[in-house]
């Protein structure tokens, strides 16, 4: 088991992390290419101020708490805090970042990490509950929407159990391996699922403002389908 853990902490971590990074870089490159002058549009005229203000206003969505989605929005926002802070700044993770990337990140204390972890778990359960019990959300949700939430929950629960042996019903090795593998599965899934919004949340807004119709495309589509004499 310990060899498996070492493998998961070592080569498998590096491999899955690389997949995530390369996958996200690919998405970013495609986005930049799409909105670039190379596609016939002048990016210099983009209203960057509006994009930055819009994006920031959604990062802390105080202005966007509309009736009917307030609880969901608040829980979702709070959930993101833990999902971002704990993996990056937990003391045990810092060692990993240092080992692989020589990154010297500041660390959060164990008490705060514990609080954030439990808080995030609670938020994730609430979001899962929304997706199960709200008819609106259920109507739009597919298996993957539930599985991704569960996949995010597992490393948080397993990580918490690993650092609290008193309440851990399984062996430390088992929960640690679950923690590592589930987190690494997330790394792989991020660029290929809706979790890609961790980078695309910026670009969707830019694309939305900057995207334009291609001149002449309509005529070419009509001609391809109905010939040169295509009629309305």
């Amino acid at each position: 088991m310990e060899q498996w853990i070492e493998f998961a902490k070592g080569p498998l971590f590096a491999f899955t992390f690389l997949i995530m990074v390369l996958g996200l870089i690919k998405l970013v490159i495609i986005q930049i290419y799409t909105i670039s002058a190379g596609k016939g549009r002048n990016i210099r005229n983009t209203n960057w101020k509006k994009i930055v203000i819009d994006t920031l206003s959604w990062v802390i969505p105080v202005r966007h708490l509309i009736p009917g989605t307030r609880i969901f929005s608040i829980v979702s926002f709070l959930c993101h805090i833990g999902i971002i802070l704990v993996p990056l700044f937990l003391a045990d993770h810092i060692a990993l970042w240092e080992g692989f990337f020589k990154l010297d990140l500041p660390q959060i204390g164990y008490a705060l990490a514990d609080f954030l972890t439990l808080f995030t778990i609670a938020c994730l359960f609430i979001l899962l509950g929304f997706r199960i019990f709200s008819s609106r959300l259920r109507a739009m949700s597919k298996k993957m929407d539930y599985l991704l939430l569960i996949n995010i929950l597992i490393p948080f629960i397993a990580g918490y159990l690993a650092s609290h042996p008193g309440i851990n019903p399984l062996s430390w090795n088992t929960v640690m391996l679950i923690h590592l593998l589930s987190a690494e599965l997330l790394f792989v899934l991020i660029p290929f699922t809706k979790l890609a919004h961790i980078v695309l949340f910026i670009f969707d807004r830019i694309s939305g403002i900057h995207w334009q119709l291609r001149p002449g495309a309509g005529d070419r589509v009509a001609e391809a389908l109905y010939g040169k004499e295509a009629k309305v």
């Binding site: 002048n42 959300l137 291609r214 589509v221 391809a224």
Partner: protein, 479 residues
């Protein structure tokens, strides 16, 4: 909507029960709709730039459901199929399944999404329940443009012949007909109408003004929703009064080759959108005009403002909405409005295309507040305001009148009632038609009019009858 469902078949065709159209279609498609839809979608993807945007939306759409509570249709029906994200996801599912490698591989191993006749029925129905007001886009944390997806879906549908007859017939006349306008108003009728309006203005104001037609090298070439010439003459007379009072009478013209600002392409077809823009630009070029001046019409303003630079060149012709022009005249002191004329309570409806999707929110309010004493806002207002319920071309589809009234415009009617306003200003031909029908349907005591209808009452014109004199004359005529 069920009561308006109908199964229209061409003579001799075999009826297929699943082909139900909620609106009239010229030649209802009954066969191979799935294959034809996919072929049309593939062709659109091949020649357009939608692929990158759809890829992005597929990767980031979190289905958080915030858009649901922003949608005036869903808020009334509570039907999940009316949730903007639900609609968008149908198109994204089709894209993923049939036009991405991942989707094709997944389909080999799972019983995932499949486009069927039933899904086509859903698409042709729910995308014409959407008013494309884009309120949902404002509430999307990721900025997904559900309104754009609505147009894309309708565009693909139109390429296989599924398009409301009311829209198709209008566009055909505009692009391929003799009159080149959606209401089929011939040039001679336009000239007669303008002469009639001149006489009306002469009687009303006591000044001689003849509408400039086909004048070359003018600052402004004017386009309004062509229906205004017949249905909203007071808006046009208000426009004319502002130009006259501002001393710009010899700076504008109406063209007779193309005098329709309407562009239904914005609602359902990139192909028509571009060609209508080109037609409009062609008229300005013929007349050697300098600017495009658009009357009170939301979608005409947005389509020209947003797409003239795309299809005709970025600096070809600046596009100005008439309200911008009027506000500028007020600021420069070129026109004066008497603030003792309008005593009624007035509210303002924001047309989605120029407010939420555009650039005109404060300008009309500045104008109104300069001469209206009792101005009251709707709640919510500005870019958050609700659609009239007839947006996205729905107002032109008579057979869905009941849907537009009981569902599409229900929240707007309530909003309007709560203001207690006696006059609702709606500077858009489509909004005006829908709102007029709404106040009748919901029995609301309010008059709907354009901004320049009201300006016509209060504008002070040197050498003409004063607004007070005109008001007294109008009161006498009502008696």
């Amino acid at each position: 909507m069920n009561e308006s469902n109908m199964n229209i078949q061409p003579a001799g065709a075999i009826a297929i029960p699943v082909n139900k159209y909620p609106y009239y279609i010229e030649n209802p498609v009954t066969e191979n709709r799935v294959e034809r839809f996919l072929e049309a979608f593939a062709t659109v993807l091949q020649y357009s730039d939608y692929k990158s945007l759809l890829d992005s939306y597929c990767s980031s759409n979190t289905k958080c459901n915030r858009c649901a509570v922003a949608c005036p249709i869903f808020l009334v029906t509570g039907d999940p199929k009316d949730i903007p994200c639900y609609r968008t996801n149908i198109i994204l599912d089709i894209y993923r399944r049939y036009f991405t490698i991942g989707g094709a591989i997944k389909a080999r191993f799972t019983n995932g999404f499949e486009l069927t006749e039933e899904v086509i029925d859903d698409i042709l129905n729910i995308f014409y329940r959407c008013t494309a007001c884009r309120r949902c886009t404002n509430e999307c944390p990721l900025g997904i443009d559900h309104g754009m997806i609505t147009r894309l879906a309708r565009y693909v549908l139109s390429l296989i012949g599924i398009v409301p007859k009311a829209l198709q017939v209008s566009v055909r006349e505009q692009l391929e007909g003799e009159t080149h306008n959606t209401s089929k108003i011939p040039k001679v009728a336009l000239i007669n109408t303008l002469e009639f309006l001149s006489e009306e203005l002469n009687d009303m104001l006591g000044v001689q003004m003849e509408f400039p037609v086909d004048k070359k090298n003018r600052d402004y070439v004017f386009f309004c929703a062509v229906s205004d010439y017949l249905l909203e003459p007071e808006t046009l007379m208000g426009n004319a009064a502002v130009l006259y009072a501002a001393g710009d009478w010899d700076k504008w013209t109406i063209g007779t080759q193309n005098y329709d600002g309407i562009n239904y392409g914005l609602f359902y077809s990139d192909w028509h959108l571009e060609n209508i823009i080109k037609q409009l630009v062609g008229e300005v070029t013929r007349l050697e005009g300098k600017n495009i001046l658009i009357g009170e019409c939301g979608h005409a303003s947005r389509s020209a403002h947003d797409f003239v630079p795309v299809f005709a060149g970025k600096d070809k012709y600046p596009v100005i909405n008439f309200m911008e022009y009027t506000l500028q005249c007020i600021k420069e002191g070129k026109i004066k409005l008497d603030n003792n004329i309008v005593t009624e309570r007035v509210t303002y409806h924001d047309p989605c295309n120029i407010a939420r999707s555009g650039w005109i929110v404060n300008q009309p309010r500045q104008i109104l507040k300069s001469f209206v004493k009792d101005f009251v806002e709707m709640t919510p207002t500005g870019k958050e305001n609700y659609c009239c319920g007839g947006g996205g071309g729905l107002v032109s589809i008579d057979e869905i009148h009941e849907f537009r009234m009981s569902i599409g415009g229900k929240i707007k009617a309530e909003q309007l009632r709560q203001t207690g306003a006696e006059i609702c200003i709606a500077p858009c031909a489509n909004c005006k038609k829908q709102l007029k029908e709404l106040i009748e349907y919901y029995d609301i005591s309010c008059k709907v009019m354009g901004l320049h209808d009201l300006i016509l009452k209060a504008i002070e014109i040197p050498g003409a009858k004063s607004p007070q004199e005109r008001k007294e004359e109008a009161a006498l005529m009502e008696i």
